[in-house]
């Protein structure tokens, strides 16, 4: 693993049993992502984007090879250690928003902080900041069912970044949004990336999202087909 890489995989394989046969979702993937990068895993459906993202988020384990996230070897993490890693260092943004339906916007954003046991006053401050970042401070008391798709995804972004994680993993974040909302949320994430130096990793095949990336890793059939720098990192530091 390279120095200062927050995520590094080495010859990563992921094989799923499929009846009598198997499906190789990842095939010898070696990538390294440094702190503060705004990177996309790009490729057609079934290329292994989400699988790789899940392994990076300690939601899944590789079949072989190694995956190291913030110094933690994913393949050897216990369920509890993986949960702790996600709780403290990783934020997730999902295609379907995955907001908790019975909670208000405020409570959804507050949830990761509750899990961390942060005191109420600090939680209030952090949630207010996060809602401010995504421009939803005035919808704090709304329920997810009262929000548009774009607003829901902005709540999900606020929830992902409220704990100021080192890494945010976003799986097709614009898939359920129209063009205007897609651009809105991408601009929001770019702003957070610049302000907090949070590493963003996207799994996407949406050109609107790709347009904002500074680095694009193209996956085809579970292999890294290309790894391209699309724009320089703000500090000028290249992977």
């Amino acid at each position: 693993m390279q120095d200062s890489a927050v995520i590094a995989t080495e010859k990563l394989d992921k094989i799923y049993p499929l009846g009598q046969t198997t499906l190789r979702a990842l095939d010898g993937v070696t990538v390294s992502i440094r702190r503060g990068e705004f990177v996309g895993l790009v490729g057609p459906s079934g290329s292994g984007k989400t699988t790789l993202l899940n392994i990076m988020g300690a939601l899944d384990a590789p079949s072989s090879g190694t995956a190291e996230v913030l110094g933690n070897r994913i393949e050897s993490l216990t369920h509890t250690a993986a949960a702790m890693l996600r709780n403290t260092h990783i934020g997730f943004i999902f295609q379907t928003f995955n907001l908790l339906p019975v909670y208000t916007v405020y409570e959804n954003v507050e949830f990761p902080l509750l899990l961390q046991g942060i005191d109420a006053a600090e939680r209030r401050r952090l949630v207010a900041d996060a809602l401010e970042w995504v421009g939803l401070a005035d919808r704090a008391d709304s329920k997810p069912a009262q929000l548009s798709g774009g607003q829901s995804q902005r709540v999900a972004i606020a929830r992902a970044v409220v704990k100021k994680p080192e890494i945010v993993l976003a799986d097709e974040p614009s898939a359920n949004l129209d063009a205007a909302n897609s651009h809105h949320i991408m601009k929001t994430m770019v702003g957070i990336n610049r302000e907090l130096h949070t590493t963003f990793v996207f799994a996407t095949h949406d050109e609107k999202v790709i347009g904002y990336l500074r680095r694009k890793i193209t996956l085809v059939d579970g292999k890294v087909a290309r790894d391209e720098r699309l724009a320089p990192e703000p500090g000028g530091d290249q992977p």
């Binding site: 509890t80 379907t96 908790l100 339906p101 909670y103 509750l114 899990l115 046991g117």
Partner: protein, 390 residues
């Protein structure tokens, strides 16, 4: 604490689904307490009535007396020991003399038990003070059941035949001076109460008795040879076992109620896990452990019982208080219960019953909530996020 807050938030947030379960569970709460309260009330009421009318503070039995063998009654008599005699003189005990007899109501004959009782006694709640001499016939008291069975009423004359101590048949007319209502069958059916002194005279058994009943304040005496003391523990044991049997029958009903309520909780939990699997995936992605999610879902289920206790209190307390005040009317068929029940049954709710029921329902609800959540332990985060159950 955080988990509890989340469980409360989730449970309340689930809206109608939660409240339907809560209402169903609250019915179980109220029904169990009401039903058990009636059994406890019945227990207290029956024991109190039986003690007041029959057992007093315990009984001395003449040694030949066997309540389960009527053939012993005529031989079961003896001199009242001086120690007991002084209690009787102080009105702290009452002597009873039993004698088999036959009556002839409406041309039929029917065996009865003549029971002599001191009209001035203050030990038993029998209206013996009414047994004053009449100009025509010996005064007699009969219970309402007895009156119904033989077709007699207050003021009627009844011919009674018995054998005295020498075996000689004798017969007289008795005047029914009162038909008394009692819940205690043992002093009613097949019995005819008369003044003790008259019975002693008529049977040639002066100063003798079959049984001495103590007041509840009187302590048993030591010198009572030929007499056996039976305390309340002994006297009430058949009654208590009978009530326990009724309680077991009643508990089947409330177990069914509880089972139905638990089925609703179990069903809700299973549905929750099925419907909320994507939410579980989200919780895992946000950093909650599997154990945490199991705990959260179990707590949510258990919280139903807390809410149910609150809802049950809201309508149950007035309802149960009303029942405690007015009681429940009993049909005459309840005579067949085999023990003394009044025309109204008043429930008794003890703190042990109320808190015991709350704890029982809470524990059972928690277990029922936990059982389906064990599936979560097998759930993979990626499958949960895709809405799959593994």
């Amino acid at each position: 604490m955080m988990m509890l807050k989340l469980a409360i938030r989730n449970t309340l947030g689930a809206g109608l689904r939660t409240w339907l379960n809560v209402v169903a569970l609250s019915f179980a709460f109220v029904a169990i307490i009401a039903l058990q309260g009636f059994y406890d009330g019945m227990n207290e009421q029956v024991q109190r009535a039986t003690v007041d009318a029959l057992y007093g503070g315990g009984q001395y039995w003449q040694q030949a007396y066997d309540p389960y063998d009527p053939l012993t009654y005529d031989d079961a008599h003896g001199e009242v020991p001086p120690a007991l005699d002084s209690l009787i003189a102080d009105r702290r005990a009452a002597a009873l003399l039993f004698r088999s007899a036959t009556i002839y109501p409406h041309g039929r004959f029917q065996p009865v038990l003549l029971k002599g009782i001191d009209p001035a006694q203050q030990t038993l709640s029998i209206p013996s003070g009414l047994l004053t001499d009449t100009s025509d016939g010996i005064p007699a008291l009969i219970g309402a059941r007895m009156a119904r069975n033989i077709g007699a009423a207050k003021g009627d004359m009844i011919t009674v035949q018995w054998r005295d101590v020498h075996g000689t048949y004798d017969a007289r007319d008795f005047r029914v001076v009162e038909v008394f209502r009692t819940t205690v069958q043992e002093i009613d059916n097949g019995q005819l109460w008369m003044p003790l002194g008259r019975l002693r005279d008529l049977t040639g058994l002066p100063g003798q008795a079959t049984m001495i009943v103590l007041n509840r304040t009187a302590a048993p005496v030591r010198d009572a040879d030929g007499w056996t003391f039976r305390d309340l523990e002994y006297l009430l044991r058949d009654l208590r076992s009978l009530i326990r049997m009724k309680e077991v029958q009643g508990s089947i009903l409330y177990m069914m109620l509880l089972f139905l309520a638990m089925l609703a909780i179990f069903d809700t939990q299973v549905l929750s896990i099925w419907r909320r699997r994507r939410e579980m995936g989200t919780l895992m992605a946000l950093g909650m452990t599997r154990g945490g999610i199991i705990g959260l879902f179990t707590m949510e289920g258990a919280f139903h019982s807390v809410l149910a206790a609150v809802v049950a209190a809201a309508y149950g307390i007035p309802l149960l208080a009303y029942l405690a005040n007015t009681g429940m009317g009993l049909p005459s068929a309840t005579d067949n219960f085999g023990f003394a029940l009044g025309e109204r049954l008043f429930p008794a709710y003890s703190p042990a019953l109320v808190f015991g029921t709350i704890v029982l329902v809470f524990v059972v609800t928690t277990i029922v909530s936990f059982l389906p959540t064990r599936r979560i332990a097998r759930l993979r985060p990626t499958d949960a996020l895709r809405g799959k159950l593994t």
